[in-house]
């Protein structure tokens, strides 16, 4: 079976959780022997891992016929794309796109990020999708997140193959209810045209059903998983210069992530205990407010803002922590507590996060229930037995949440749509 997937990000160059999830899922699905995957992204950097998936860049897809030599293509693409693929796609240009700005190869340029002209980039992406869908034989189409829904619909119109869309987040999660009508329109359109909708949690599934008015029968939840930690990460040594306990919040400091609840819980814990420090790592539009709130509560000497952490710094921070807290107000899935648990850090998560549905060995509280959150933090830092128990059992649990299993669930959905078995 061959699946044509449309995505926006693919590691190593990622901006959010979408890239990580796309990578994990394709890798997990590639473990099935009869599964062939083509993954389209706007702009590959050339260092993506293509051992288990064929990556096509929309920025390398010709939409205007140009006479280019094999040698020139080779010098442009290097080893990550064969000139033959270019020629195949050039044979499938389906309309006159000369009005668009294209480069020497007849390709549209993409930023591959989330630029201001995002809507235009989405549209260009769909145009390329038309060429790719005509060129690449496939049995099913799979679109990841709203940016690629239009491309998926376009491909479906061309090949007539079933369309699966994968909802990693909805605009309701991002905006706490104040949706952008344009984004909502694209999302809703994608869902309406989809033959099946995969959501990353039941929480998201509920949103899709109630806010986007989808038939529950065509919406299923397939929870995300985590990649096992790599050797280099495993070798990172925690940095502990004090024997004080460290409680960490890690993520964008935005409304969606509920940072203010973390500060309030911290202030309660600090009223009762000394020997504990709180860290809020990350950046975002609420950071200044949080710094002010910390000062107002009079806990600034025990509360730290190290800023945005990159790459291995994230794991160094996690490994130095005693507790990880994710008080998200609305989180479609939330991969970070799983990553914390992988390196043996007990986690407290809000019940309003999708990962709460599959985690047993994490403490769950309502995001607004700062008393319960403070209580849980206090219990883990004062009770060695609790810390040890969550550390060991949590790691065991997360090690069993594998992309391979998620991949099988997605495959079962494909099979059902194609009438196999």
């Amino acid at each position: 079976m061959r699946a044509l997937m449309f995505g926006w990000e693919f590691p190593p160059h990622i901006l959010g959780g979408l890239g990580t999830a796309s990578y994990g899922l394709t890798k997990g699905m590639a473990m099935q022997e009869d599964m062939d995957l083509v993954f389209v992204i706007p702009k590959p950097h050339g260092d993506e891992d293509q051992s288990f998936v064929k990556i096509i860049g929309a920025c390398n897809t010709p939409v205007v016929w140009r006479d280019v030599s094999w040698e020139h293509l080779e010098s442009r693409f290097g080893s990550y794309m064969s000139p033959q693929d270019y020629y195949n796609m050039r044979d499938h240009i389906y309309a006159d796109f000369r009005y668009l700005y294209t480069n020497d190869l007849g390709c549209i340029e993409f930023s591959g990020r989330y630029p201001d002209n995002l809507m235009e980039e989405i549209n260009n992406y769909s145009i390329c999708a038309g060429v790719i869908a005509r060129t690449e034989q496939h049995d099913i189409i799979h679109s990841h997140d709203w940016l690629t829904y239009s491309a998926g619909i376009h491909a479906k119109n061309i090949s007539g193959k079933p369309l699966v869309i994968h909802v990693h987040a909805t605009d309701f999660d991002r905006s706490r209810g104040n949706v952008n009508p344009q984004v909502y329109g694209i999302e809703k359109n994608g869902m309406d045209h989809a033959d099946h909708i995969i959501c990353v949690s039941n929480l998201t599934r509920e949103t899709v059903i109630s806010k986007y008015h989808q038939d529950p029968r065509k919406v299923s939840a397939v929870h995300n998983a985590v990649e096992p930690v790599s050797k280099t990460i495993e070798e990172i040594q925690p940095e502990r210069h004090t024997n004080q306990k460290i409680v960490t919040f890690l993520g964008r400091i935005t409304m969606q992530k509920g940072p203010e609840y973390f500060v309030e819980a911290a202030s309660r814990v600090l009223q009762k205990t000394s020997g504990v420090r709180f860290v809020m790592a990350g950046s975002g539009d609420m950071m200044e407010d949080m710094i002010k709130l910390v000062a107002k509560r009079g806990i600034a000497d025990k509360f730290h803002f190290p800023g945005f952490l990159k790459g291995n710094q994230v794991y160094r921070m996690l490994k130095s922590s005693d507790v990880y807290v994710m008080p998200s107000v609305s989180e479609p899935f939330g991969i970070s507590p799983l990553e914390a648990m992988q390196v043996g850090v007990p986690s407290i998560i809000s019940k309003q996060s999708g990962c709460a549905e599959i985690l047993n060995y994490a403490i769950k509280t309502d995001y607004w229930d700062i008393d319960a959150m403070a209580d849980a933090i206090y219990s883990i830092i004062t009770n060695p037995a609790m810390h040890e128990f969550l550390k060991i059992q949590g790691k065991n649990e997360v090690d069993e949440i594998k992309w391979e299993y998620a991949g099988k669930k997605v495959r079962a959905i494909y099979d059902r749509l194609l009438g196999i078995k």
Binding site: R268, Q271, K272, N360, Y361, I363, K364, D371, A372, A374, D375, A376, Y378, S379, T382, N383, A385, M386, E388, F389, L390, Q393
Partner: protein
């Protein structure tokens, strides 16, 4: 003649209220009165009162041939007294019929038997006294919390004067043997064991209203038929279950009360009688020894202690609790002793079980918490406060032994003073004149003192 031995368990824990860590040191009341009262009154109305009435009627109409036994934990009695005293009254009525036996157990429905012999004996004595006062009976049969039993425990129980113990007929213990005989402890031939007939007991307690069960619906005639068809030599059918089976776990609509009402009639027709545990024990000879090296219980597939002490959290809470046992016993604070009892109740540890993640049904049904972690956090907060109170009574820097010797000295001082006073009185009585002499002397001494000034 075959006989059915019914024993019903009645127990309700004092559920803890939501107790946050910032309450530690500030709030010393730990219980959720609202929920406790609500649950107790509901069970009393749905189960205890109607079931008691039926049993009373059955005893009357069979002229005492229908006989049953109850084991009511001390904490349940405390709660009944507070929230549903009419239930206690109806048990007293049952006690007066003479056809009902009350069993002995630990007052707090605790797991003390596993860890603290002194505490265990204290609690059994406490419970015993309570039963005597309320029901006018001296309990003769012992039943440990959740039917926990092992050979060593048997010895402990025997040393307290019990000759009959009720235990679980666990497969691991019985093997190919049938529970329908009386056995004796492998260590002590004088200690008789009555083992629960798992299949027949659970047919009533768990499967009665299960539509998916192949034997559904269960009617009294069929049930008695099964008992009658057991091999001739098997004389005793031990049906042990939670009393809430009637009307609460199996709702009234399932027909459980009608089943209970009809049972004796069919039993008598087939020549099957009813006996209480102590009657069985005195009438039936033990067929052989049963060896139970490791503690068994009547809970879960494993029938062991894993429901209460299966994970590290439970062990931690349990060990911390009993670490202050010695000190609590030294204290004379009544309130402290009361809390000490209520905190020992096994249910608190049951709520912390993480086995609920795999087979959740029953744990979730009984637990007032959303997760085992919440249960642990809440309990540990309460326990921290309790331990602070214990430590406030005696400085924690003083070791237990040292403290004990100090207390002994203090106590002995009191005794000595009392002794001396007695002696003094004796002298006073012996010589009223001598008494005066002493007084004069005293007065003289005082005068001298004044002069010196």
């Amino acid at each position: 003649m075959k006989t059915i031995c019914f024993y019903f368990q009645i127990h309700q824990p004092f559920r803890l209220k939501r107790y946050r860590f910032f309450d530690i040191g500030a709030d010393h009341y730990y219980y959720d009165d609202f929920i406790n009262e609500q649950i107790l009154q509901r069970i009393a109305a749905n189960s205890f009162l109607p079931a008691n009435q039926i049993i009373y009627d059955l005893i009357q109409s069979s002229e005492g041939k229908f006989r049953v036994a109850f084991s009511i934990s001390g904490v349940a009695l405390d709660q009944l007294e507070q929230h549903a005293p009419e239930v206690i009254e109806s048990f007293r009525k049952l006690a007066k019929t003479g056809a009902v036996e009350f069993l002995s157990e630990t007052y707090a429905h605790s797991l003390s038997s596993i860890v603290d012999e002194k505490e265990f004996k204290n609690q059994v004595t406490q419970h015993r006294k309570r039963i005597e006062v309320l029901f006018g009976q001296k309990p003769k049969t012992f039943r440990n919390t959740e039917l926990i039993y092992s050979d060593d425990l048997g010895e402990m129980i025997y040393s307290m004067g019990y000759k009959t113990v009720i235990a679980e007929g666990a497969k691991a213990v019985l093997g190919w043997k049938s529970p329908n005989f009386v056995y004796h402890s492998a260590l002590n031939p004088n200690l008789k064991l009555l083992l629960k007939n798992d299949k027949l007991s659970d047919d009533i307690a768990f499967r009665f209203s299960n539509y998916n069960w192949s034997e559904y619906p269960l009617v009294a005639e069929k049930f008695i038929d099964w008992i009658q068809k057991t091999p001739e030599k098997e004389q005793v059918i031990n049906l042990f279950m939670n009393y809430e089976t009637f009307g609460n776990l199996q709702p009234k609509e399932s027909g459980i009360f009608e089943f209970l009402k009809a049972l004796p009639k069919f039993a008598f027709e087939k020549g099957i009688g009813f006996s209480t545990p102590s009657e069985v024990s005195s009438l039936v000879k033990a067929t052989g020894p049963i060896s139970v090296p490791n503690p068994t219980s009547w809970t879960d597939e494993e029938r062991d202690l894993s429901a209460w002490l299966g994970n590290d959290l439970q062990q931690e809470a349990f060990n911390k609790l009993y670490s202050v046992a010695e000190r609590v016993r030294m204290s004379k604070d009544r309130r402290l002793h009361l809390d000490w009892n209520y905190l020992q109740t096994s249910d608190h540890f049951y709520y912390m079980s993480t086995k609920s993640f795999s087979d959740g049904g029953l744990y979730r049904y009984f637990s007032p918490y959303e997760s085992p972690f919440e249960a642990f956090i809440n309990y540990m907060n309460v326990l921290s406060d309790f331990m602070e109170r214990v430590n406030a009574q005696f400085p924690s820097s003083v070791g237990n032994e040292e403290l004990n010797s100090l207390l002994t000295t203090i106590q002995n001082q009191e005794l000595k003073i009392a002794d001396l006073e007695k002696e003094l009185k004796k002298y006073k009585k012996e010589s009223p004149t001598g008494n005066r002499q002493v007084a004069v002397k005293k007065g003289g001494a005082a005068k001298k003192g004044n002069k010196a000034k």
